[in-house]
């Protein structure tokens, strides 16, 4: 019974961990990233048509499958457009985008939703998890959108929204052609002194804190050891010093090691550091005790 409970507890914990791990890469990390309401002279779909679109962005470091989730323009109908399951293209790679055409023709494929934008009014678009209840992200697109100018997050996944005269469907809103961190170091720390000071401080700090904690742990351990020794009534025990020679300690350690490793069967031998002297005697010689096989 006890074993069963233990086993089940382990399974439960494992399931919980897996569920937590899976949560980290679920659709909750998707964001509505950029929208274009009026498409007059811009990006065309596979049918050569120009329509408005919504771009979603995967903010996580894991692949997210949006198949089975929902897009809607109706607050009262979160399940308005179910994104089809089983399409490999709905698997969005880390920090990548997916584009949905807001053309009202769902029969055109997975990435064509069954609603359209109204160019003269405020528009609403929302993305729901596969349960149809969990709102992942929503956006109110202000009225008065201009043709071929998209509305999107200044930088992918971040909060600030701006208008883009140069639209960026299925690609980064902010084009990264340099590495900001490296440029910053090149500009402000061309000799590397700043990096050296910062990094060495962190290394020292980390190991110093570890040192400090283990110094305290050592104190506690020594105190606990003393208390145990006193409780056991061990008299004359001196901490840190011993009259036992190194060789004896080595012999004891070897014996304990052998015992713990359990590499041998139990043998009737004595482990000693004394020299073993065996004087020759014909009574103990193997020559006389071995028997030759009879010749045929």
């Amino acid at each position: 019974m006890y074993k069963m409970i233990r086993k089940n507890t382990g399974l439960l914990l494992l399931t919980l961990l897996l569920a937590t791990g899976a949560q980290a890469q679920r659709v909750t990390s998707m964001r509505i990233n950029e929208v274009l309401v009026i498409n007059e002279d811009n990006f065309v779909d596979d049918y050569g048509k120009r329509n408005g679109w919504v771009e979603l962005y995967n903010t996580s470091a894991g692949t997210v499958n949006v198949g089975g989730c929902f897009l809607t323009d109706d607050r009262n109908n979160p399940k308005k457009y179910p994104i089809p399951k089983g399409d490999v293209l709905t698997r969005i790679s880390p920090r990548q985008h997916v584009l949905f055409w807001v053309d009202g023709i769902a029969s055109h494929g997975t990435f064509h939703v069954n609603f359209t934008f109204d160019p003269d009014k405020e528009n609403y678009v929302a993305f729901y998890d596969s349960d149809g209840k969990t709102l992942v992200d929503e956006l109110v697109i202000p009225a008065g959108q201009k043709a071929d100018i998209s509305y999107g997050r200044k930088k992918d996944g971040e909060n600030e929204w701006v208008y883009f005269t140069k639209v960026t469907p299925s690609t980064n809103n902010l084009t990264l052609d340099t590495n900001e961190k490296i440029d910053n170091f090149k500009l402000n720390d061309s000799r590397g002194i700043g990096m050296t000071i910062t990094a060495m401080s962190v290394v020292f700090l980390g190991l110093f804190v570890l040192y400090y904690i283990f110094k305290q742990v050592a104190r506690l351990a020594i105190a606990a050891g003393k208390a145990r020794a006193q409780k056991a009534g061990v008299a004359g025990m001196h901490e840190g010093s011993s009259d036992i020679s190194g060789e004896v300690l080595a012999a004891i350690s070897t014996a304990l090691y052998e015992l713990n490793e359990d590499v041998h069967d139990i043998e009737r031998t004595v482990l000693t550091i004394q020299k073993v002297k065996r004087n020759y005697s014909p009574w103990s010689s193997k020559i006389y005790s071995l028997r030759e096989n009879p010749r045929k």
């Binding site: 490296i182 962190v202 290394v203 020292f204 700090l205 980390g206 570890l210 050592a218 020594i222």
Partner: protein
């Protein structure tokens, strides 16, 4: 008929010749093959890190067999080739953490726990990394490349491969070869500087024997070590997480089979794959450049700086320690990770001046602290420059 058949044979033979290694060889290939042979020689003759130098040396031979690039999926850099598939463990950086798992499962941190102040020596030796970083910047390398080169000074092959695969994949072959070469050459590189920086009186310092560490302390160490270092430098998680996890497997006492697998078959398998593929990545056409030469020079410098920083830090630290608690500066060199070779060098050099002064167990403290320190330093570099 016979004539056309003969000409067909001749053409085929000529075509075959263009596929041979002899036909495609360049002087660079022979230079690299010579380097591989030297590695194998050093490993067998002098037993310099044979577990690393034999696979790497032989890998260099494999990687420098010249061949015609005819899409036969032969070479390491040809997508889909066997070597290329094995090399993915290096490029995507999952071999090093598995090596760290094995290292954790075989490392006894007792020396460090019993005398925790030795951790600071492991921190001081990381100056080698940043000394090389500063010099690499002056030589015109980009900050990310300089960071990847600097990590050679951590004297930790897996860390060097892990970081360079993230920061400067184009330099990874040279960095890995340089790191492993100098790790193997610590018996030659370190002793002159240890002698140069210490007085004969300092070399004779006897340190207190380490106290016995309880199993509870040993179990607590990897848990606190992980939480502390990774909360400070989360980017070091792949290496530090696996290192401390492996150590907990060892010290918990209830996962003996897992610990034995981690420190036995697993680390051996990964070492073979890592060594052979890193060696094979040094194809002359990709490897023999001025940058590689510079990296080798910087690697040597970083080891020297790390050694000197460790020794000098102990001397400085001794100014604040009471008589009887002083540290022998000959263990300062062990702050570079190169486990356990640099600790063995402390012992060897110390024994030359006092054969009854056993420094090995003391040197293991900064040695394993160096492993933690270099992984933390790698995490910082990755965080700043990645």
């Amino acid at each position: 008929m016979q004539e056309s058949f003969l000409s067909f044979l001749g053409e085929n033979l000529q075509l075959f010749l263009t596929y041979t290694g002899v036909y495609n060889a360049t002087p660079g290939h022979f230079v690299m093959i010579a380097v591989g042979l030297i590695f194998i020689f050093l490993a067998i003759k002098y037993e310099f890190e044979p577990m690393l130098l034999i696979p790497i040396g032989f890998g260099i031979l494999i990687g420098n067999i010249p061949f015609k690039d005819a899409g036969l999926q032969v070479g390491l850099y040809e997508q889909g080739s066997v070597l290329n598939i094995l090399y993915q463990g290096v490029t995507s950086g999952w071999y090093p953490p598995l090596i760290f798992l094995g290292i954790g499962a075989m490392t006894d941190f007792s020396a460090l726990i019993s005398n925790p102040k030795l951790m600071l020596i492991g921190a001081a030796a990381q100056f080698g990394i940043f000394g090389a970083y500063v010099i690499a910047l002056q030589m015109g390398f980009e900050p990310n490349q300089a960071g990847a080169i600097g990590i050679i000074g951590g004297a930790d092959g897996p860390t060097a491969i892990f970081l360079s695969s993230k920061l400067a994949p184009e330099l990874m072959g040279a960095i890995a070869i340089s790191a492993y070469s100098y790790m193997a050459l610590v018996p030659i590189l370190q002793p002159p500087f240890m002698r140069l920086l210490t007085t004969s009186k300092e070399r004779l310092i006897r340190m207190k024997p380490p106290r016995v560490v309880s199993s509870t302390e040993k179990i607590i160490f990897p848990i606190i070590g992980l939480l502390l270092t990774c909360f400070l430098v989360p980017s070091g998680l792949p290496l530090l997480g696996m290192l401390f996890f492996g150590n907990l497997l060892k010290e918990s006492g209830v996962t003996r089979r897992l610990a034995e697998t981690a420190r036995g078959p697993l680390i051996d398998t990964i070492t073979i794959l890592l060594g052979i593929t890193v060696g094979a990545s040094t194809q002359a056409t990709q490897f023999l450049t001025w940058n590689s030469v510079k990296i080798f020079g910087l690697g040597a410098l970083s080891f020297i700086i790390a050694t000197c920083a460790g020794v000098m830090f102990v001397k400085f630290f001794n100014l604040f320690l009471r008589k009887g608690n002083k540290i022998n500066p000959l263990i300062g060199n062990a702050g570079v990770s190169a486990v356990p070779d640099s600790a063995r060098i402390s012992q060897t050099v110390g024994a030359q001046y006092d054969p009854s002064n056993y420094l090995l167990m003391h040197a293991m403290g900064p040695n394993v602290a160096g492993v933690i320190g270099s992984a933390v330093a790698a995490g910082i570099l990755l965080g700043f420059l990645g």
